[in-house]
């Protein structure tokens, strides 16, 4: 989305709005983000008089989609759904989008309602999301809304391992592969699709199938052109780390990630990414040193919690449980300051689980 928002083609539309960039991990934004949807990136239009969101777009978007989104006048049901979605009310939003679908049984308005519905369903129970998207997505035109729905479907299916092998999950997996082959799928879409498809093969206990997905994922990442800016570099590094830790090729990616850590000198996550690779190849001292460098880069709360959790995992492997406990406690302190309630709870639960697994 960021690439589309900053594209030349989009600039002429940008002047209609006061623009605000909000880092979800910045404590300054706690008030603004209270009771907000926890799905990123997200673009919202807010009426400054009522302070209510009137439109919301979560996930990836092409420039053309964003222009249509900003220019368009949605019907009442979509507008109502967007307002609810922006506040994180997935079930209320889904109900409104269902009404929009009833008003528009086909065409672009229908497809947009469906991709918004997919976002809303992701906020609720995964099995319901799987069932709905497996039935709704196959008939969609193979354009970008279909890609968004396929991404959401893969994510929901991966979140419902008890459904592995069911007809609905098989359908969503097939649609995920279809989406991967579409020219309208963006780079970020493809990364998410590979993640979902990999998880689904693992949940099906199909290790060779999962390995094949991981290999294709890594091949795709490796054939990206050189990054044009820091955002692209960060996104590609993250995808590379995720891919090589699946294929077992972490060692090969270390030089690139070390170079990125030097180039992105203020980015704590650049240190965390290279620490993950060191850990994957059992270079524990190097991994701990990378985390320490990350902690010196003024990390925000989520970043701090992740860095401390990573160093505790390293210390645990080094048979240093007391140091691991100290770092997990520091991570929990940082996690208390995470803005989103769900993200905060999930991060704290993971750190507490990690601490409970340490010897007394």
């Amino acid at each position: 989305m960021k690439a589309a928002l900053h594209s030349d083609a989009f600039k002429s539309y940008a002047g209609q709005f006061v623009w605000l960039e909000v880092n979800v991990d910045d404590p300054h934004n706690a008030g603004f983000l209270a009771n907000s949807i926890e799905a990123y990136p997200v673009l919202e239009l807010i009426d400054p008089a009522t302070e209510r969101a009137t439109r919301v777009w979560a996930g990836t978007a092409s420039t053309a989609q964003l222009v249509a989104f900003l220019d368009g006048k949605p019907d009442d049901a979509i507008a109502r759904g967007d307002g609810l979605l922006a506040r994180g009310d997935g079930s209320g939003a889904a109900e409104a989008y269902d009404q929009a679908l009833a008003h528009a049984p086909s065409g672009p308005a229908h497809d947009h309602a469906l991709e918004q519905l997919a976002t809303a369903l992701q906020l609720g129970p995964s099995p319901a999301c799987v069932a709905r998207l497996a039935k709704a997505a196959p008939a969609m035109p193979r354009e970008h809304p279909f890609v968004n729905v396929a991404v959401a479907g893969g994510s929901c299916a991966a979140g419902a391992p008890e459904l592995a092998g069911s007809a609905d999950v098989v359908m969503l997996e097939r649609l995920g592969h279809e989406a991967l082959a579409l020219p309208s799928a963006s780079e970020d879409d493809r990364y998410q699709l590979y993640e979902g498809l990999y998880a689904l093969r693992l949940e099906a206990s199909d290790q060779p199938g999962a390995k094949a997905i991981a290999d294709a994922y890594l091949d795709y990442v490796r054939h990206r052109p050189p990054p044009q800016n820091d955002d692209e570099r960060m996104a590609r590094d993250l995808a590379l780390v995720r891919a090589v830790t699946k294929t077992g090729d972490a060692a090969q990616a270390i030089p690139q990630l070390e170079a990125s850590e030097r180039a992105l000198a203020a980015d704590p996550d650049a240190s965390l990414r290279v620490a993950k690779l060191y850990l994957a190849v059992n270079r524990l001292d190097d991994a701990a040193a990378a985390v320490t460098r990350g902690l010196a880069r003024a990390p925000k709360p989520t970043q701090s919690a992740r860095l401390y959790g990573m160093r505790a995992a390293i210390e645990s492997k080094q048979q240093r449980p007391d140091d691991a406990k100290r770092d997990l406690d520091a991570g929990l302190d940082a996690a208390k300051r995470i803005n989103g309630a769900q993200s905060r709870a999930a991060t704290m639960a993971a750190l507490q689980q990690q601490r409970a697994a340490l010897p007394p």
Partner: protein, 54 residues
Amino acid sequence: MNPSIYVVATLAIACGSSPQDRPALPRFENDYAGARIAALASHAPIAVEIWAPW
């Protein structure tokens, strides 16, 4: 980090002009209050891009 406005322009939208003709409105980083004041003054909605740094 202190909230910062990184492009400053206090310009009203000309009635009847096309989007392409309109001057750029201000951009803000991590400063909802500032963005809201600017939006109220210019009678424009706020477009908020919420992003995660990882």
